[in-house]
Symmetry: C2
Subunit: 457 residues, 2 copies
């Protein structure tokens, strides 16, 4: 039961903001499988990981026992610049739909990176700075992570080199300028600046690039430069840990008003937003305290949970990264150039993969045009122009709210609105002009990609 009239937007007070991140692995009975060394195919050592990643982030990556990890004061101070993010009651959307459902969304777009990515970027930049590094390298798909990392690096005075997936680089020239505003260098990927990039270009000269390619290039680049490490905006467990700030704020706000969501929905590419949003709620479920329905929404063109295999696979196309056990379409899978660049990843974070495998989470896929229909509808009704990625969650939230019209159920629906679409107007233009395509990979395509998975027991 709701205790009081819920405001349109719930902002926590500064003192209510989380002081610790929550590590859902601590509450999992069956833990996600360990990362494997790409050379030996044995569980990777801390030392090997530290050649690629910052020391403290390796500790976090491997920690599956501590439920709470303290957020350093410098990071909490930075969080105060753009957090708490509002938990919004979608009164207008409910009214327009005529649904008895109560819809809430946690809006992470009110910062210059335009998404939730800043939550982890500032943490990763902080630990790089603490370690005395000169800079970091990374990849970016839609450009949100690259922008977030540029902002974080600028704040701590670190050099920032971004490999940007080629199709996004071309569709979003202004994203590059935002990153330059924050002093970052941006290279379209695949590029000729790395060995792995040249190799990919040789094999696929017309490729639009993919997150998998860009990751390989960024890792190679970091390992060849003194005082640099690689950082990643999704997929890794450390990222889920940092992003738990989303779910923690959300839960505090909901508890404060006595709201309990029945369904929690998030878009899923590498899993950073979905994992961050659901972590504290999933924790309650794992501890047997409460139960929720969790839904991961994937693009039809890149359905790693829905149509992939739970197996060890490379995290990147160039096979230079550790292997992770995850739901995957195969590291060689080249997703169609959809407009949700942030969801074009072949695999899924290992924690989410394991939770999905245990039947604790559902997954659905949606077509691109259906996503943009929902995006435009939402923009008009709720006044926020959503990112294509976020609009995957909107689509399913609307569908679930519509089901409540039929059944009369007053379900409480919570979804993650990860970001804004200001840099996605090229995609919106295609949608307005009726020239946007949908793409569903055939069973054969998927089978071919899965056949190339490394054979590891």
């Amino acid at each position: 039961m709701e205790k009081t009239k819920i405001p349109y937007k719930i902002y926590l007070e500064e003192h209510e903001m989380p002081k610790d991140w929550y590590n859902v692995r601590a509450d999992m009975k069956v833990k996600p499988a360990p990362l494997l060394d790409p050379i030996t195919k044995k569980p990777i050592t801390k030392e090997a990981l530290q050649k690629v990643f910052c020391d403290e982030l390796v500790e976090q990556e491997l920690d599956d026992t501590n439920a709470y990890i303290s957020i350093p004061q410098e990071i909490r101070d930075f969080y105060k610049m753009f957090r708490p993010s509002p938990l919004v009651r979608a009164y207008c959307l409910e009214k327009k739909l005529g649904t008895p459902a109560k819809i809430y969304y946690k809006f992470e777009g009110n910062n210059t990176s335009g998404s939730h990515k800043l939550n982890s970027a500032i943490a990763q930049a902080y630990y790089a700075k603490e370690q005395g590094l000169k800079g970091v390298t990374t990849e970016t798909g839609a450009g949100q992570w690259g922008t977030a990392l540029s902002m974080a690096c600028s704040y701590f005075g670190l050099d920032c080199n971004v490999f940007m997936v080629k199709c996004s680089y071309e569709q979003k020239p202004f994203r590059r300028e935002v990153m330059r505003t924050y002093g970052a260098s941006v290279t379209p990927s695949p590029s000729t600046t790395t060995e792995v990039g040249r190799k990919i270009l040789e094999e696929f000269p017309d490729t639009n690039g993919s997150l998998g390619c860009a990751i390989s290039e960024a890792v190679e680049s970091a390992m060849n430069k003194d005082g640099y490490r690689y950082v990643l905006g999704s997929v890794l467990n450390q990222v889920l840990l940092h992003q738990s700030v989303i779910g923690l704020e959300c839960k505090t706000a909901m508890d404060k008003y006595g709201i309990k969501p029945d369904i929690i929905i998030g878009c899923a590419g590498g899993g950073s937003n979905l994992g961050g949003l659901i972590s504290p709620f999933m924790g309650e479920q794992l501890r047997g305290q409460k139960s929720y329905r969790f839904i991961a929404v994937e693009p039809e063109s890149c359905p790693s949970l829905s149509r992939g295999k739970y197996a060890y696979d490379y995290c990147d196309t160039g096979k230079v990264c550790p292997l992770a056990k995850m739901y995957t379409l195969g590291s060689g899978y080249m997703p169609a150039p959809s407009h949700a660049g942030g969801l074009r990843y072949h695999g899924m974070n290992p924690v989410l993969s394991e939770l999905y495998d245990q039947g604790l989470m559902e997954a659905v896929t949606v077509k691109q045009t259906e996503v943009f229909e929902a995006a435009e509808y939402f923009a008009r009704v709720e006044g926020i122009l959503p990112a294509p990625e976020s609009s995957h969650a909107i689509r399913i939230a609307i569908d679930e709210a519509k089901k409540c019209i039929e059944t009369g159920e007053e379900k409480t629906i919570l979804f993650g609105l990860t970001g804004t679409g200001y840099f996605d107007m090229y995609a919106y233009e295609k949608f307005h002009n009726g020239v946007m395509n949908d793409y569903t990979p055939t069973d054969e395509e998927i089978a071919v990609a899965l056949n190339k998975l490394p054979n590891i027991e």
Copy 2:
């Protein structure tokens, strides 16, 4: 004295949000001069104004006696979707500058229009809807007002026709797509769709357009269409009234924490943001309760307060609008194509003009490159990518804070951060590439333009 530790961001509770707009004219002893009919050159009648503007908005335009005007519930509900806007304590900026000054800014950019313009857009759309109109026409410079109006019209189911200043239309194709997302039609101005547009194109075939031209086209278009009225995003007194919500929220938040600003700074194009921000503070000053230093910041290329004349002038290039007594550079003045499209207007709101003439407000001009230097600095330090318009205020706020370093004074500085620069990356790119020009009109240019002012006593 500050009572308690000030949070990074102050958000009012819903119940603390203003229920009335504040009309500063009520507290002015010398009122702004009346609008004149463009044909008779006599004070314009309510009936004549109602041919151009919505009935209720005409009432508000002419009301210089009622200090408080109730905000209709529907508008207050819409406000709740994107307001209250945060009052931000710029702790990071203060630290980076090493200033003893305390800096605050009221950030109006956290909505899809990207600026404060939505405050008045929703009010104007509401009254158009109440009057049973089919739609409205308007002009837009930088595109923020056009976007805001598109959103407001979409909310109330009104048709929306936007004339967009040509140079902005070309520099910002994605702005057009945002407006289309909200169902608006967008025409570059000057266009061949109106008589006045054709006339201007004949005289200046290579013109980049100006707000003055676009206004003429929008007015003509509205008057020729059944069930349409013209709406305007700045300059008018009704707009200042709606925008007072900025200053009212600001004052409530500051009073709550016992903060009293010494200096209040805003960028000034037509005056909508500046007027809205300062109104309640100016009211206190006019009533003899408190005193403040108010600074209007203008672009060096379009210095209406700083170098214009206080005289009756046309509000538009085509001379179809009423005449207003205001600081003006002449309605024929064609400002250089700077990147702060929202400030390229030849005149200044009559209320602000009168206050400035009474010596109650200062005005300064800043060069475009100095503005972008401040913008980039601010983006890196405070994490918000500001609009070029807003960055005019940032420039002066930083300069004032630097003066405090020299004098050791702990002044409290408040400025209006009107919007975000996500659609201004073309301008940022020019700045990054070192190809941005400054432009200072010569005395002769100004004199030539002022010579063409209509001769009215």
